[in-house]
Symmetry: C2
Subunit: 713 residues, 2 copies
């Protein structure tokens, strides 16, 4: 399969189906590009009506081509694509790039057409890029099928579900940096080749050292995470995903037919895989540039050098937004800065030069050298006028400013500590700024974006420097299943049921050591009374029926029953309520459990995300989940590093510590529970659609799972 992608991205011969003499058509532009870029292989234009295109002989159909064809660029309307793919199969074409829209993104007819081409591709051994793709290019192979002109060669790979977003990035990189591109793949609808396969190609591609992505949604997010985890060990991935909002998600769906789950689930998963996730499109280029040219940061202590207090204060605010530390600089550093500045200024970080550089921009470089030498400083951010002193004050300052720029470049190179510059002259022609940009000192017009650059360097460096558990994202049931549980799942399925009744769910969880409270089932009122006596009063009694999914909604849960009479009466009450609700509900009697003392209530749930499969949610019970939606997520499986993180990621985390003199919660017990549930779902993921433990009551020592719900796939 990777070979196939080699064929697609390094083909020895290309057929252009739908070749054209119309300059506005891709069937013309692609051939023009290939010729202009001196594509080393053969080009076969296919068009039943043309004789010659751009000097090349035209074939009436693929069948007419006698020689081997590696890939076909299919520039025909959607309806003809299936028959073209059939011909590709006959001619042993290895890959097809399908441009047409009108497939999975357009509703049921389009979905059918897409299924048809997927099937043909599979049957005929033709791997498909797209459909609904803007094409591909590989500049190191002199191949460009996108129609985009003037592409600088370099090492940035783009993997995008939007051709226009790729064009945005290309346009910006071309205008603002010296970077260039290795290759681009327009992913389109993923009818055949998927994100993770492309990513794996780029992982191995020696011409690529960073991968920039735009994603609407993925068909197999989990496999993507697996490949991404490996990839980031070698080269960074920067990813922008649409669909933060409902309307954005809807637009993404009608763009590539992608189904997306919760944005927060995706972001957490991407982060765990070490992918740098970007929320705003204007941060994509700056983040990519920083990661492509600078060393990742293993710590986040930033010094700020400004030539005015306003910019300095704003820089501190921006760095705080990204959780970077505006570090306290050492006394030695302060002393050295005072010597340079020779004034009565209060020196602290942000260091405000307050006009000291107006006549001599070299002071910037001198102060930068002192700050960079401070062992407590990991990186430097310069904000203000640098690069524009010769514009603001006097042309005579130009050469000094250039010299300062050269010194900053040398300083960054020698120290290995990144320097990032904000200049209000960033969009002006400025030779000093050009010197910086040419030598890996990024320059930005926005303070916030300059801060963002440092933040992505730290995010990437931090990922590389710490341990990650189970972040291979492989669900491995081996050795985890128990035959009695598997048997029970099969029995329930055989009975045509999708819901486990509570006693079944409890039995399964208990087999795996999940601390559910003890329980007894009863089918008569007398049984119930006996069971209650065994459990010990007070008890909780709940209706037991596969047809009653939300017991409390129908009054199917009775709390704090204190004696025989209450149990006796309660039994009839429960059966009656369930019956009133649903005449034909299958009744399995009731389940009794001990009434547990108060504690802190938590909730653990597992659902299936359309992109990533099983995802676990953790939160505090009651209003914290229901009103404040204060929860954390992890794609399963998790291990001993992720589980405690889930506890720390909720806003109300301090409640677990114990507040206002109350006892804290047994956090290790919660962590064990999360790991236990993760293992359980890993063992039976084929079966479980949803799992809910709600509530779980946590004490200073230990915890009890009080209610459980499992729904089958």
């Amino acid at each position: 399969m990777p070979q196939t992608l080699n064929h697609v991205l390094r083909p020895r011969s290309i057929a252009v189906v739908g070749a054209s003499n119309d300059v506005r058509k891709r069937g013309y532009q692609a051939i023009q590009s290939l010729q202009r870029d001196k594509f080393p292989g053969k080009i076969y234009p296919i068009n039943p009506k043309e004789k010659e295109i751009l000097g090349l002989p035209v074939f009436k159909s693929l069948e007419e081509v006698q020689e081997d064809v590696d890939i076909a660029l299919i520039a025909t309307p959607a309806a003809i694509v299936p028959s073209v793919l059939e011909q590709c199969g006959k001619r042993h074409v290895k890959g097809a790039v399908v441009l047409a829209v009108g497939f999975g993104e357009t509703g049921s007819d389009g979905i059918k057409l897409q299924q048809q081409i997927t099937a043909i591709g599979k049957r005929e051994g033709v791997r498909i890029v797209g459909p609904n793709t803007s094409g591909v290019f590989n500049l190191h192979h002199c191949m460009n099928l996108t129609g985009i002109r003037d592409l600088p060669k370099g090492s940035v790979a783009i993997l995008s579900q939007s051709g226009n977003m790729a064009l945005s990035l290309i346009t910006e990189i071309r205008a603002k940096s010296n970077l260039g591109f290795s290759a681009y793949i327009g992913v389109g609808n993923e009818a055949d080749i998927q994100f993770h396969e492309y990513l794996d190609y780029f992982r191995k591609d020696a011409d690529t050292n960073i991968i920039v992505m735009f994603v609407d949604g993925m068909r197999d997010g989990r496999k993507f995470l697996q490949v991404a985890k490996q990839t980031v060990e070698e080269k960074p991935i920067v990813l922008l995903k649409s669909g933060r909002s409902d309307k954005g998600r809807q637009a993404a769906h009608s763009h590539t037919g992608a189904l997306a789950g919760l944005s927060v689930v995706a972001n957490t998963a991407f982060k765990r895989a070490g992918i740098i996730t970007i929320d705003h499109s204007d941060e994509l280029f700056p983040a990519a540039e920083a990661l492509a040219t600078l060393k990742p940061l293993s710590d986040n202590r930033i010094a700020v050098l400004s030539d005015g207090g306003g910019h300095g204060a704003l820089a501190a605010d921006a760095l705080a937004d990204y959780h970077l530390s505006v570090v306290d600089i050492s006394k030695t550093t302060i002393k050295q800065l005072k010597t340079i500045l020779n004034g009565s200024l209060i020196i602290q970080n942000p260091v405000d030069l307050a006009g000291a550089t107006d006549a001599d921009p070299l002071i910037f470089a001198q102060c930068a050298e002192v700050l960079i030498a401070d062992p407590a400083v990991d990186a430097l951010m310069i904000v203000g006028l640098f690069g524009g002193y010769h514009l603001r004050f006097s042309d005579s300052l130009l050469s000094t400013e250039e010299e300062a720029a050269r010194q900053l470049v040398a300083l960054a190179a020698k120290s290995g500590k990144p320097i990032v510059v904000h200049s209000l002259y960033a969009s002006y022609r400025s030779r000093p700024l050009d010197i910086l940009k040419e030598h890996h000192v990024p320059v930005h017009e926005s303070i916030d974006i300059a801060a963002k650059c440092l933040s992505v360097l730290y995010e990437y460096g931090h990922h590389l420097s710490i341990s990650h558990d189970r972040s291979n994202f492989v669900l491995d049931s081996e050795g985890k299943t128990k035959s009695e549980v598997t048997d029970l799942f099969h029995q329930v399925r055989k009975a045509g049921r999708k819901n486990l009744i509570e006693s079944e769910a409890r039995q399964m969880l208990l087999s795996h050591g999940i601390p559910v409270t003890p329980w007894e089932c009863a089918v008569t009122a007398d049984d119930a009374v006996e069971a209650a006596a065994r459990i010990g009063y007070p008890v909780v009694m709940k209706i037991l029926s596969p047809d009653v999914l939300h017991k409390s909604d129908i009054g199917g849960v009775l709390l704090n029953l204190k004696n025989e009479d209450m149990v006796q009466d309660g039994f009839d009450l429960l059966i009656g309520r369930a019956r009133r609700q649903n005449q034909r509900a299958k009744m399995n009697g009731v389940i009794l459990t001990p009434m547990m003392p108060k504690g802190v209530e938590i909730v653990v749930g597992v659902t299936q995300d359309p992109q990533f499969g099983p995802v676990m949610m953790f939160g505090l019970g009651g209003i914290m989940v229901e009103v404040l939606k204060d929860v954390s997520f992890r794609v399963l499986p998790i291990g001993g590093i992720s589980a405690p993180q889930m506890l720390e990621e909720i806003r109300a985390r301090d409640i677990l510590k114990g507040i206002r003199g109350q006892a804290g919660c047994d956090k290790p017990a919660i962590v064990d529970l999360l790991l236990g549930v993760s293992n359980f779902v890993e063992a039976y993921n084929d079966h479980i659609a949803e799992l809910d433990l709600n509530p779980i009551i946590v004490y200073e020592k230990g915890l009890s799972v009080v209610d459980t719900r499992i729904i089958l796939k």
Copy 2:
């Protein structure tokens, strides 16, 4: 006082104290600017050592100048400023612009020096701009004392505590728009003239139609709010404030010596006054440009037109971030769009042209016309490649694209509905984009910033279209005070106390109709038992001492005392605990109140903000305030519109409605309480430093203030 500012900003004569022949010095640059710009008044360079500067005769001192001097630009070091100001006084100079740093921003010596110049200014009748100011300019008066060159004349006024932030804005406006400036004031340390005075000048200034501000902190935020409220009725104010973060606040303080309170308090107050508050410096210019050139929006329904699904989805996300509505377009609109696009595309908002415009950018204008005509659409956002079709595809498209731009311009003008364009070619030379920019269709490279422009238009329009209560921000005690309360405050002061004991606070609140629970005081255990009987068991008993501020911290609160014995024992316990804590604590015995049934706990507090004076906080009691900091703020006074808003602004607002079958809270009672407290603080603001009602228990009907605390100024 406004006259004084007329003198400062429209002077007939200017003395430059510290005039210089050194081109790098302000004492040279200012004179050069005045001459170059043909300043219509007289210029008097002052320097004891020079004879002639730029062709002008130099005076040894101000005293030597025989004619009237309106203002002095003081370009000397800080230490000399007091004596120069004395001379200004003698010569009846009306205003002084003090550039020097080294005043309030540098610590105690600087603060003293600043107090000295403030006093001299007051005594001598010389109004002071600064110190620590970068100067002022008034382009309509041909006066520029800032040394900044090439300033386009226009109607944007800048009021800034950072010269460099002003320079950023000027640089950006010059590079990216056709806007120009009316005037600039570098506010500096506000030693004399304050923000609100400058603002009032701009409010009345016919040359100004928008005011852009950068603020570290204000000396009198309340007066500023009062003037701002009036100003925004005539022209918009856009404001960027530093100090969102701790380090940012610290940097701001050492920049201008400004003391800032909570950022959220300031933002809420600015918003209520109708000021457009900006969080990120890169949004300041775009917001100002939009407000300066486009009509405010009274509703927030946005249509998006994109030539690719990726940009469309990202635009929807960005609009959602700013709480703008990506509106459902009508069936008629969809039908008309289908006719234009002639394809099988699914048409919804964002409208994705999906390549239909590649060969004919005029389709943009046609679709825009249809969308703008939809009555459900208030504004249009175009995202993608527009302006770059001739760059991306074929030079031959240039004239069509220009025509499309002209049509869009005409459409915006005719319909009165704003059109904002994102173009990935925004930083390229593009004639079609220039046409848009020249005619009030803003063009941005960032989708997020284009969305931000629409959001500020709506924020401003919304403010103008709705009612606001008490947002004149005037604290008016008239008719609100009661003599018995005022007397009590004075008695406490006379006794040398800063803390009211609880019974005093309760008495005051009760006089103003605040529903505190009934109470009794007792100085012996027997008294306490009798009091408890009158109140009715169960009771709460608390220590009563002006020296015990946080009663519960020392165990000074006993809940749920059910009988005589418990009260008897409790009395001794409380006195003992208080005594152990503080041997010399003054003891007033205990206070008894009924033990109230459970309900929803809320908290209302009032503190004095260093910028804005009394500020009220509202939140849910317990963990919601303590752990989640889920609170809302208002600068007092408030009225019947603000009070309910405070209830809706907390994240946990749904708890007040009643959740999970629980009864809701009596919201009107909470609103009455907030208004009552606001009135109370308004009546006695001279006395109250802090007021705390915590907790207040709210029921389905009514509420009870259970504990109170008032601290005097």
